[in-house]
Amino acid sequence: MFDISASALAAQVFTGLVLGGIFVLLAIGLSLIFGLMTVVNFAHGSLYMLGAYFGVFLLGLTKNFWVSLVAAPLMVFVLGLVIERVLVRPLYGRSIDDPLLLTFGLSLVVVEAVRIVWGKIGLTIDPPRALSGALDLGFMTFPLYRFFVIAVTVLVLVGLWLFLERTNVGLIIRAGSRDPLMVRALGLDLGRVWLLVFGIGAGLAGLAGILAGPMRPVYPEMGITMVIESFVVVVVGGMGSLLGAVVAGIIIGEVVSLTTFFAPKLSEIMVFVVMALVLLVRPSGLFGEAGLLE
């Protein structure tokens, strides 16, 4: 039905790569919170949705995309701090199911609250003027805004890596995820560290939300498909591995893109087939540490 030309295939591979980058952005916050705190944050999708709604709210207030892009994730960050301090903290030391159930319940509450505050009809965020065009790449035209999203994703990844590997706080966070008892014995306050990690993870979900606004519709249930996409990326990459999230995001992006090209009806199921295959061969994901879930 479609002639498979080299340029069409190149366009498809390129689109998959950028889509993979977007999947990485969606999944980082989830991966961070799980990898460092072993909390499966089911409210990730709701925090993403809140990032987009705070973005709409701030855009209406300031008329400035760039201010909103910074302020909306900060608002979700603060909300993340409150969620950790008030709801998640009492559950540390219990089984992994408890925070999972709690955050799942929380996600339902947040969706309902947003329906009450902003209504059931969705909203939109326009990309800033400077980024609303498309770029002619020769083999295809591609939206400028998606390049911007990828640039932000790379910045976030580099920033996170520097923070975790090169700062003292990062050192404590990593030590705390390996052996919390020992870190406490050294007289360090892990509570504050986990508070910060949860806040950052939430803020990253919010950032993904406002960045998704110009590409996708903003509506109360927008986090539901997103949280599934994120979980697939995190599980394939290995729970808690940032490198894994990057590799898995790109793999999933290409799987979606190429399956869409050759057999569109299979594009949704293929993602899960890949996930199942990876889990069969490597039960803790491509780059995951074994034993985190036990």
């Binding site: 689109t15 939109t124 110009p214 590409m215």
Partner: protein
């Protein structure tokens, strides 16, 4: 159906309902070089599709959609719907030309503070039609009411004459083709599109009951 109306389908690319990501489909659509894109992407999917279609620099290829839905037009706004074609069973601007539509839309505006939408109009017409059956028969027995409506097939509750087809109980009615107005030229908050054509009710546009296996 496409062939019957002189169109050729150069490609199709199905997507999973409820998906917000169309980027993988867009280069494939570009590669097929269509003269127009017929997109069946309901609800929030439609906003996602149109946003991404525009961002990929594809606006010069017109988009035609089977059904527009008023809250969705409001949600997407004029930038997204600029130049997009859609079908609809009712659009509140019909009140300018059709007295029944004006009566219905004025009542809706007064009661709810916004113009009448399309699905709401279906529901209104449906309820009024059942009421007509009850008035005709002075009965609330479903079969009696249904038989009476089949015997008196024509009705008109909000936009002009409609009728029931006996063999499958389908309501034949006028439909309209609307097109998104340019941003800045919209009519208030809800006047995102303008009516470009009326498609009079016509049983020949549909499959016959024989084709549907009902006769």
């Amino acid at each position: 159906m496409a062939q019957k109306h002189g169109a050729t389908i150069v490609g199709t690319t199905p997507y999973p309902l409820g998906n917000a990501e169309f980027s993988a489909h867009l280069p494939k659509i570009q590669a097929a070089k269509p003269e127009a894109i017929y997109s069946v992407t309901p609800g929030a999917d439609n906003i996602a599709f149109l946003k991404q279609y525009a961002s990929f620099g594809m606006k010069k290829t017109p988009v035609v959609q089977p059904l527009h839905w008023l809250p969705q037009l409001k949600e997407g706004g004029p930038d997204i719907y600029d130049g997009i074609y859609g079908g609809t069973n009712f659009y509140w601007e019909l009140a300018d030309t059709i007295p029944q539509a004006k009566r219905y839309n004025d009542a809706h505006q007064k009661r709810f503070g916004m113009p009448a939408g399309d699905y709401g109009a279906y529901a209104y017409s449906g309820v009024m039609e059942v009421a007509r059956g009850i008035e005709l028969t002075k009965s609330t027995e479903p079969k009696v009411v249904a038989d009476a409506l089949r015997a008196s097939r024509e009705y008109d509750h909000y936009k002009g004459k409609q009728w029931w087809r006996a063999c499958d109980g389908k309501s034949f009615q006028d439909m309209w083709i609307v097109k998104g107005r340019q941003p800045g030229k919209t009519r208030g908050d809800w006047g995102i599109v303008e009516v470009v054509a009326r498609i009079p009710a016509n049983e020949e546009l549909d499959r016959t009951c024989a084709e549907k296996g009902l006769a």
